[in-house]
Amino acid sequence: MGPLVPYIVSEEFGLVIALAIGVAFGFVLEQGGFSSTKKLVGLFYGYDFTVLRVFFTAGITAMAGVLLLGHYGILDTSVIYVNPAFIYAALIGGAIMGVGFIIGGFCPGTGVCAAAIGKIDAMAFVGGIFLGVFAFMEFFPGLEKMYTAHNLGQIRISEWLGMSDILFGILLSVVAVGAFIGTWMIENRVNKRKPELAPGMKNKYALAMAALFVVLGIVAFLPGKEDIIHMQIAKAKRQQTCVFKEIPADRLANDIVNNFYSLNLIDVRTPEEFEAWHLPMAINIPFDQMLERQNIPIFNQKLRTNIFYADGDTLVRMACLKAKYAGNSDNMILRESASEFKKLFFEAEPPAAGAAKAAINIWNFRTDAARKMQEMEAAMKSRSAPAKREVVTVRGGC
């Protein structure tokens, strides 16, 4: 599951990849016409909208791709870098850049591109960028207040508007297509051209547009990876297979006392329920959070058996099946519920006088195990708190 850096690919090798990405980026920018300052500025005077087309198409393509990959769980969109929204800084900085764009005729990426193919004005522009960046760093103390004011954090615009990502994606795509048609008409008028497309292009454009909306439609209407998993594990027939994976309470207690190193006892109830009472030595991974990145390694390790428990048969079976989707560890479920376990071991009534010897033996075993489990938990207080795995979100930006 993406992103690959820093989880799968190291930061160092990431730099090599960065170089390769840069080559592709520079090549496409240059091919797209971004190395010509007249093309870039044409957008503002209405005679050439090439840059708007390339830019908007690129943004929409990448956005649709991110939504699609996220939908099928190929890309973990919860950790990718979302530029933080410092409202004043974004607007003021953007406005200054807009003026710089008109006066200088480039932006940093395109300026570098143009300078690379020998445009002298672009080299001057790149030199200017150095001056501007240096000025910012030297004047930073005076700018800091504005720079950090009114921070909304790493928020998505869809979140801010209170709509789903895919709805905003569709709206943005519609706006983009509208802009393509509108600017084409403006361009024709400014350059006094007849509004004609090259033969065959009409179909190609229609096909490309259809492809975009098919992708967006898939994300909007077809079930994603999580939905599919939930549908699968909700099937009663599938849940029946868990019966063979059950472990009775007495055996579990015995394993906790004697073989704790060979098992992970996982409480899949909510954190509140977990806080109220949980089995000794258990860790809490709420059912809804099982597929989160930081929890996956537990379902993917080969050293310990995962034993799930909850308060209901359905929930614990679904958890066991979900763990199977997440990894290939050995998974078991506790036959009894959490409250039944508590009753058996910690609130057991002593057997009546003259009870069968077997019943007395069981009572002895359970009180003994309960005492030992409590001792273990007390002894390992610091260890029984599950080591918090920090989710590393990607740092980025300029």
């Binding site: 520079g26 090549f27 496409v28 690129a58 410092f86 300029c398």
Partner: protein
């Protein structure tokens, strides 16, 4: 190249970047790191005495060169040069509007670059890092920056029309 085709290719490059690295494309950051490296080499005491540089050094123990964007912009130079050569666009040349002299164009380019550089640091990204990559991940900050760039561009375009058109 057809602009829409170029756009799709650029979008795929951006998508691949996000998939591999978890962040989008960028370029202005490379300028920042280059300057920090230069200041460090030329005036190390200035680095030690200024909180901005000190904070940067603490946050980036690998030094300013060991940075994703620095490598990426180095790649951009290679890729653009290669593209310019195969499309026969490479060569020393000065692009300008029909009514300006070379000197005016160069001065305007430096001033524009300085403004862009300054603005990109305030907004934490430029057209690539904030606007384009921000759009791909639906970032509010990135999309606001994009709106501000193009809004301001259109707002002042009329005043600078003599730089570009008849």
């Amino acid at each position: 190249m057809n602009p829409y085709l170029a756009g799709v290719l650029l979008g795929l490059v951006l998508l691949a970047t996000i998939y591999i690295t978890g962040r989008g494309l960028g370029s202005s950051g490379a300028f920042k790191n280059t300057i920090i490296a230069t200041v460090e080499a030329v005036a190390p005491s200035h680095v030690d005495n200024t909180p901005f540089y000190r904070d940067f050094m603490e946050a980036n123990p690998g030094g300013p060169w060991k940075n994703f964007l620095v490598f990426q912009v180095a790649g951009v130079i290679i890729g653009a040069f290669f593209s310019g050569v195969i499309s026969r666009r490479a060569g020393l040349k000065l692009d300008k509007g029909p009514r300006v002299t070379n000197t005016v164009r160069i001065i305007a380019a430096i001033v524009g670059g300085a403004l862009f550089g300054f603005g990109s640091q305030i907004a934490r990204g430029c057209t690539s890092g904030a606007a384009l990559s921000g759009m791909a991940v639906l970032s509010l900050g990135g999309i606001l920056t994009m709106a501000a760039i193009f809004g301001a561009g259109y707002a002042v375009a009329w005043f600078f029309r003599k730089l570009w058109i008849n």
